[in-house]
């Protein structure tokens, strides 16, 4: 128990156990699969047409934003060269995965994805959806993987407040709630502030939106605020997610 909790020495054994129970879990998720399949089957043509139109509009907007992104990326590289610093930007290659099951128990919060080690997925890879960070891959089977969600009480994410750049640690509280720790009372923070990954620790890539501050309490005699936040990602609703893999860009170091 201690070895598994504090180190990754037993992760291969855990993966082996997960592979063993994979057929059982697939059988267990059959009712959910049947429900999803029936829901899809009864979608009317009108609904599909409306959805298609919505997606086309979204696609157009994203393309326009991407054009600007390319320009901004070049500008950042140019500024970095001017300052004589190495570029911190790294591009990520993504892999789309379907959510096989979502589990929220008092003990753990996780997704099971339909991509595993045979698809090139690795432990500690970051998982996001269209809105923000979802979590991190913690175990693998050849055909599926487990994602520990950011709301899991055992996960800690190094983050920063986008508006001020103040760094802190985001902790899962379960029930779609997070707590932001180590923000000193001398710093500026307010409800509605966006929290993004800081990239420290080299596990979660920098700059991905994670949560929105929902409550800030100033406790008497305490050096830090008590801050609660809500995840940006639709943890209960996501059907498709993106698995990020790091692909560092060639950078000029002077």
């Amino acid at each position: 128990m201690v070895m598994d909790h504090y180190s990754h020495l037993l992760s291969n054994f855990r993966n082996l156990l997960l592979t063993t129970i994979d057929p059982i879990e697939r059988t267990a998720t059959l009712p959910l699969d049947i429900y999803n399949w029936m829901q899809q089957d009864y979608t009317t043509i009108n609904q599909l047409q409306m959805r298609n139109q919505q997606l086309e509009t979204e696609n157009l907007l994203l393309k326009a934003q991407q054009q600007q992104m390319g320009k901004l990326k070049l500008e950042i590289n140019r500024l970095n060269r001017l300052l004589g610093t190495a570029s911190q930007m790294s591009s990520s290659s993504v892999q789309i995965a379907n959510v096989n099951s979502y589990s929220e128990t008092p003990l753990a919060h996780f997704y099971t994805l339909n991509k595993g080690s045979l698809d090139g997925v690795k432990i500690n890879q970051t998982v996001i959806d269209a809105k923000g960070l979802i979590g991190q891959i913690t175990s693998l089977t050849p055909s599926s993987s487990r994602v520990q969600l950011i709301t899991d009480p055992d996960i800690q994410v190094p983050v920063r407040i986008q508006r001020t750049g103040q760094r802190g640690i985001l902790n899962g509280l379960g029930h779609n709630q997070l707590s932001l720790m180590f923000i000193p009372t001398s710093s500026s923070i307010k409800e509605g502030d966006l929290i993004e990954t800081s990239g420290l620790g080299n596990i979660f890539p920098e700059g991905h939106p994670v949560a929105i501050v929902t409550k800030v309490n100033l406790l008497k005699g305490e050096p830090y605020y008590e801050i609660f936040a809500r995840p940006m990602a639709d943890l209960n609703l996501s059907q498709k997610v993106l698995i990020l893999s790091k692909k560092p860009e060639n950078t000029d170091v002077r």
Binding site: M1, D4, F13, I24, A28, P31, S101, L107, A108
Partner: protein
């Protein structure tokens, strides 16, 4: 004959034994993965307690350990934690299984309920579960549900066992 009635032999019911564990693990996983229901007691533990009172020439500690490991992998908890709880409860049942078999069904249910209270207490200390709002009530209602499920489960299992042994 009396040997069969008092203590079942593994060879007589091996398929039922394996099948019952398979079905119970599938149902437990289904509750967590498909229906997101967290207040149903582990059917696998109930089945484990049932077999440990019926097959008396085995200790069932190895089964408890392996099933615990499978639950650890399935629930993403530290490896060995569910095993520890399962083995402890099975060991307690082994100490009193002969007396347990002689008790009426309602009394057996209350004892099983007390084992599930122990299960929840150990889980509380090992896993530090996040219990907010109704989750706290659901967490402590599991032993009550185990008390209600045990008589039904034993009746079903007795019928299936009888059919396997005497067919």
């Amino acid at each position: 004959m009396s040997d069969k009635v008092f203590s079942l032999r593994f060879s007589d019911i091996k398929w039922l034994f394996i099948f019952s564990y398979f079905i119970s693990v599938v149902i437990d996983s289904m509750m967590i993965l498909s229906f997101n229901v967290n207040f149903i007691p582990y059917l696998t533990l109930l089945i484990l307690l049932f077999w440990s009172t019926q097959i008396l020439n085995q200790t069932h500690l190895f089964s408890a350990f392996v099933l615990g490991l499978l639950f650890d992998a399935s629930m993403s908890t530290p490896l060995g934690s569910h095993s520890l709880i399962f083995v402890t409860i099975t060991f307690l049942m082994l100490r009193s299984r002969l007396r347990f078999k002689g008790y009426p069904l309602w009394q057996q249910s209350i004892i099983v309920g007390s084992y599930f209270i122990l299960f929840q207490v150990m889980s509380w200390f090992i896993f530090h579960p996040v219990l907010k709002g109704n989750a706290l009530f659901y967490y402590w209602s599991e032993p009550l549900l185990a008390i209600l499920i045990w008589p039904v489960l034993t009746q079903i299992m007795h019928k299936l066992t009888h059919r396997s042994v005497f067919s």
